[in-house]
Symmetry: C2
Subunit: 312 residues, 2 copies
């Protein structure tokens, strides 16, 4: 496929086009993704999540500068499940990143919920793969808020950063949303503010309580406005990468994720089949019985599933 060849050659317009096709679940998208798949696995995916206002965007900005100085090319996927928009960089906070947007080594793409049929996390995963195949060394997945969709998006990354700030009261919200559990590294942003020490202590108390085996989750105070602490953070990310790659942890994690993905994609395929099935005349009687509350949806589903699985 010519589009794939162009992506592998580093044609940025081909990359943009492929992302749009994939987001819109164009009929060619599966072929594109399958052709590209053998060329993926080289890029490193960093997830950045935290409450709105925690300064994630300026942190990402600083991280981009760090990696660019190292000579690495960077891709950014900004995910906002509450936004109906997708495509170019559009969110207010993104404006700061524009400084990098004229740098050909940085590719930024934002993604909203409605633009991506088949789920935002699948769209984010596939976009990351396209950037990976294109040659991006570092791919940053940034989410706007903290919700279930964001947790799923983070499930694509190698390393997940959870950003907290002093005195924001976010900690409880983040704890509730299950975000604490997915952190590979904690970042205390705006660490010059009063209360930074308190948040750090809270997080460390939480981590002690968890008493995880293997990787010990570190906490990094940073000031994204000045850039203080960002180098140490990026070095911390490399340590986590080394941990993943040397202990065989990544192979196991990736294997599990790929299997889940197979299940999800299969389900999508089966679902459209089942939906169209129910329109067949054979089902008319049973469905009208359901409408009259004589048969429950569970009983109908049982019948459909049995036929599908060849148990009938």
């Amino acid at each position: 496929m010519q589009l794939v060849e162009e992506i592998l050659k580093g044609n940025i317009r081909a990359l943009s086009k492929a992302i749009s096709l994939v987001e819109n679940r164009h009929h060619q998208s599966e072929d594109i993704l399958s052709e590209i798949f053998p060329h993926t696995g080289k890029g490193y995916l960093i997830g950045v999540t935290g409450a709105p206002g925690s300064g994630k965007s300026s942190l990402v900005d600083r991280m981009i500068a760090y990696y660019r100085q190292e000579g690495k090319s960077v891709g950014v996927i900004a995910v906002d499940p509450s936004s109906p928009f997708s495509g170019g960089a559009l969110l207010g906070d993104r404006i700061r990143m524009q400084e990098h947007s004229i740098d050909p080594g940085v590719f930024i793409r934002s993604m909203g919920s409605r633009g991506s049929l088949g789920g935002l996390s699948q769209a984010a995963r596939d976009t990351a793969r396209l950037m990976d195949a294109f040659g991006k060394d570092i791919i940053i997945l940034e989410t706007v808020g903290v919700g279930q969709s964001e947790v799923e998006v983070m499930n694509v990354a190698h390393t997940v950063l959870v950003v907290l700030t002093p005195n924001s009261g976010d900690t409880i919200q983040i704890l509730k949303a299950g975000i604490m559990e997915i952190a590979d590294l904690f970042v205390i942003n705006k660490s010059d503010l009063d209360g930074a020490h308190k948040v750090k202590n809270e997080v460390e108390a939480y981590l002690k309580l968890k008493a995880a085996q293997g990787w010990q989750v570190p906490v990094f105070p940073v000031m994204s406005l000045t850039g203080e602490g960002v180098s140490a953070l990026c070095e911390g990310i490399y340590l986590h990468r080394d941990y993943l790659y040397t202990k065989g942890v990544w192979e196991k994690k990736l294997g599990g994720r790929l299997r889940n993905e197979v299940v999800q994609i299969t389900m999508e395929k089966v679902m459209s089949y089942v939906t169209s099935c129910l329109n067949d005349d054979d089902w008319k009687d049973l469905l009208s019985k359901m409408d009259r509350h004589q048969v429950s949806p569970y009983q109908v589903a049982d019948k459909v599933a049995k036929i599908l699985l060849g148990i009938s």
Copy 2:
């Protein structure tokens, strides 16, 4: 099944127990729901959604009082997707409802995301059915926040109220989340505050823009603290009910929802089958090729789906 008999007899402990079984997807839950299904369809489901702080709980409180005065029995399902808890009434706002909790004609249940395997909206739907079969005339589904999960929960209701307040800036958030579109009635709470008129105008402008056929979405100013406007609101809900029931709108809506439900439940059944399938030795080679990035998850899923659908 004895539990079902007890529910139909009005045994409140049996109802509580059944809700827990259903929430936890106990192996008996499908049988319970199928047995109960022919006894459902009498209760009226009212969804109440809006941003946190819009006074939904005190509004629900006032609505309960209205329906109790009419001699109707009331069930309340308080849904908080961001909370890991479920079971009793636990949220801060719920405390106010406690005044009704000693009234045997009112049954309150709260529901968090983690307590409900298989999706919060399915759990809410099934809980509403149990309350319906138990004999509740009015079932109020209240959500805490405004997100995608909340929209799905609202999809269970006959009538959806979207609660707005003056000067809160929620309108944009609610618009973004697609909540405006699901409103059958708008409620402007705290209507004594400055800016109430402005919100009302905004909503009416939005409604004019939409120019819907059929039901004309009305806007009700209320003051849930004093109860002003609540009677008019509840009469408005009855008008919507009459609209649904006399024009055959409800049959069509319900039919579509039941079919969707069949698809969802079927998917759940097929999914566990596919997941276990992948553990078979037959798949070992293909999956390890996928792990080595030689075959894409899309290609594997295609193979699984084809076998499942008998196309291979």
